[in-house]
């Protein structure tokens, strides 16, 4: 299947890799190397993925029967809130940009580092401080507002709202700093010859994401600041009893949090563009269309927040406009999906684990995208609002889209990051478990929601029990698949074969340097002469591509 391609690197690999060029704990704690910071982010986001994943399994297990099993209603509220808040703010948002993006962006651009390496380090520590705040919130009185912190409940509940929102506020700064760093890096750090039309699509996706991070997150910052002040000083701006307006909070919150959905999914699109084209050995179909559709999605993402307020009492005209604009997101998104499928057509597809995840994404993300259409239809949304249909929809986008892409990307670049190959058979078993488990869990929830099961309820009517049980069993399969993946990836670190510099035959710059790369990425600054997807003639025999 996958055969190693000979390295382009004319230099013998005498220089030590970034992993061992400096030694000792301090060399990691104060590193400004984007690759080390990428790994540190990777370890952190994986830790929080595990924590929030355990919470999710606890929720699903509680829902196995209609009545209370092992947690009280209050505990249940806390667990789903923390599951959401940790997943969104400490895992998904930083997952692809801060972990994979940090590692890959300078490599793909042919640069020695990001534009502001020390800011990058600061950004990591800001993220860590945010994580501490959220953990303190969990350990003190918890949080039961849902991850959206809607007022007036969030200003009156007795749980640790201030600690938790301060954590999210701080996490936002980390996100802003990373985004700012990436925008400047893409503008100013490209290698000679790397013009905008020669940038890998992952870079385009990370760039669009970074623009949203810079432009949307400050609004979240002021929203949370107002919430904190409202709760501590009672200024009354969101409190109807004092003359304020709770819907204003929802507008503020979603003005950030809807673009944030695209902060989460756009990097996933970038990964899929790389995986599909490299593993099918074929030039990407519609390079410019995919690149510019990322930018289009970034732009549209700022004008659709009102679709979260269809039943919150905004004006009918606003509802109609937001509904129409929401449909508009489907156009650039469909352009991407069609382009990926067209890329596969007549390609020389190598069915590697990363490619399997790419294929899984095409299914799960498309289901997630298509089920967004009924939700953006005003009349239907009134029925589906706040049901499991919504839960299933956004999990298909966030987990079936972003997380599947993230794990796929992790497999695609694992050899580059760690210098080790993982076991392909183990990888495919893991992918199959994740795919089956995910679909069993969430496909069921579309039906549950359509039949009227509301979200965030810890007890339910007995007629929903069968479907809840199917969903819960699915979640166990999904968890097993993810744990299996964790085990063989960690195993590969110790027992894996040494990775060649270009195991999949990619032609973007990161494959030109050794695996794992040297501290300054390249021995000599690379000069770029063509597209990152100019693969040599397709070898129909399915063998390796030789240069």
């Amino acid at each position: 299947m996958s055969t190693a391609v000979q390295s382009h690197d004319p230099h013998p690999a005498t220089e030590p890799s970034y992993l061992v060029s400096k030694r000792g704990l301090m060399s990691w704690l104060v590193t400004v190397d984007h690759k080390r910071l990428g790994l540190m982010y990777l370890a952190s986001v994986m830790f929080f993925f595990l924590i929030a994943g355990i919470l999710a399994i606890a929720l699903r297990t509680e829902l196995f029967t209609p009545d209370q099993d092992f947690m009280s209603a209050q505990t249940y509220n806390q667990v789903f809130t923390l599951h959401g808040a940790i997943m969104v703010f400490l895992f998904i948002i930083p997952s692809v940009p801060a972990a994979l993006g940090n590692f890959l962006l300078p490599l793909m651009l042919g640069a020695k580092d990001v534009a502001f390496p020390r800011l990058n380090l600061l950004s990591f520590y800001v993220y860590s401080v945010a994580a501490v705040f959220l953990i303190v919130a969990i350990l003190t009185s918890g949080l039961d507002t849902g991850w959206t912190f809607y007022t007036p409940y969030s200003t009156s509940t007795g749980t640790a709202v201030i600690t938790a929102t301060t954590g999210v506020f701080i996490a936002g700064f980390s996100s802003i700093l990373t985004g700012l760093n990436f925008v400047v890096t893409v503008h100013k750090m490209r290698a000679p010859g790397m013009n905008w039309n020669r940038m890998p699509l992952f870079v385009w996706a990370i760039y669009s994401t970074a623009v949203i991070q810079v432009l949307a997150t400050p609004v979240l910052a002021i929203t949370l600041l107002l919430l904190i002040i409202e709760r501590s000083l009672g200024i009354g701006i969101f409190d109807p009893a004092m003359g304020g307006d709770p819907v204003l909070f929802q507008h503020f919150f979603w003005f950030y949090s809807h673009p944030a959905v695209y902060i989460m999914i756009l990097p996933g699109f970038g990964i899929i563009s790389e995986i599909i084209t490299v593993h099918s050995r074929k030039h990407i179909f519609g390079y410019k269309a995919i690149a510019l559709s990322s930018v289009a999605i970034a732009v549209i993402s700022f004008v659709v927040w009102g679709h979260h307020l269809f039943v919150s009492g905004q004006s009918e005209l606003a509802g109609v406009l937001f509904s129409f604009l929401t449909f508009a997101v489907g156009v650039p998104t469909a352009i991407k999906v069609f382009s990926w499928v067209a890329t596969l057509y007549k390609g020389s597809i190598q069915y590697n684990t990363a490619c399997w995840y790419g294929m899984a994404f095409l299914w799960t993300f498309t289901v997630g995208g298509l089920t967004g259409l009924p939700l953006s239809t005003l009349a239907i949304d009134v029925h589906l609002h706040d049901t499991y249909f919504v839960v299933a929809h956004f999990h298909y986008v966030m987990v079936g889209g972003t997380v599947v892409a993230f794990i796929g990307g992790l497999h695609h670049w694992w050899p580059k990051m760690t210098g080790k190959m993982f076991n392909e058979t183990a990888g495919k078993i893991g992918c199959l478990l994740v795919f089956i488990g995910f679909n069993v869990t969430f496909m069921t929830q579309f039906f549950l929601g359509h039949q009227g099961m509301p979200r965030r309820y810890y007890a339910y009517l007995p007629e929903y029990q069968t479907m809840h049980q199917v969903s819960t069993i699915g979640s166990w399969i999904l968890a097993a698949g993810l744990l299996w993946t964790l085990i063989y990836l960690v195993h590969s670190l110790f027992k894996g074969e040494k990775a060649p510099s270009n195991p999949w035959g990619g032609v973007s710059l990161e494959w030109e340097t050794q695996s794992p790369p040297i501290e300054h990425n390249f021995h000599d600054t690379p000069h770029v002469h063509g597209s990152p997807y100019d693969f040599p003639e397709i070898d129909k025999s399915g063998g390796s591509a030789h240069h």
Binding site: D113, M189, V214, I222, L226, G236, I237, M242, D245, T525
Partner: protein
Amino acid sequence: MSNEHAHAPAHDDDEHNPHLAHHFDTMGQQTAAAKLGMWLFLATEILMFSGLFLAYFILRMFYPEMVLEAHEYLSKWAGGINTVVLLTSSYTMALGVRSIQLGDVKKLRLMLVLTILCGCIFMVVKYFEYSAKFEHGMLPGKFYSAHLHGYEIDGLPHIFFGVYFMMTGLHGIHVAIGLAIMLWMFVRAGRGEFNAKNYVAIENTGLYWHLVDLIWIFLFPLLYLVK
């Protein structure tokens, strides 16, 4: 946007420039990156304040008469003096940037001192303004107690003072941060870190200070000169 200069062959003097970080090829590239980063940062600042401006407009739309009445209790004199002081400080800051462009470190340091002085005057005036509000019970939200001090304002003035303190408070924090940065620049200039070829840190400090000034230019009429 342009990449033409970014990777031009390094000039001889660049290669030995102690201020050039390892991951940049030329000083031009390094300066351009720093400036673009600063402009992006300023964009985030504007967006953060825009949330407060929006809150202000909603408040004014909901309760136009209350805002009109409550604003009478803000001191137009104090606000006006502070506007003049901040505008002057922007001028001295601009002169400071000009001085270092011409390589005049002494004049840069003088201008930084003048700018810091103006910033301090602003904070002192603000202190007296805030003290008066505290004394009269014109405080945000549930702490509002002006009616107990004999000031009857119709409607819901506690929200007006909530927004007033949020906007001017957040702005005041930015002024304080600006003062700290300028002090730091003053020290660095004293160490001889800046010259006619390396002054992007001063320029960025100036950009930040101008933004702080600019936000005040909007706050002053919106809060003090409603009528």
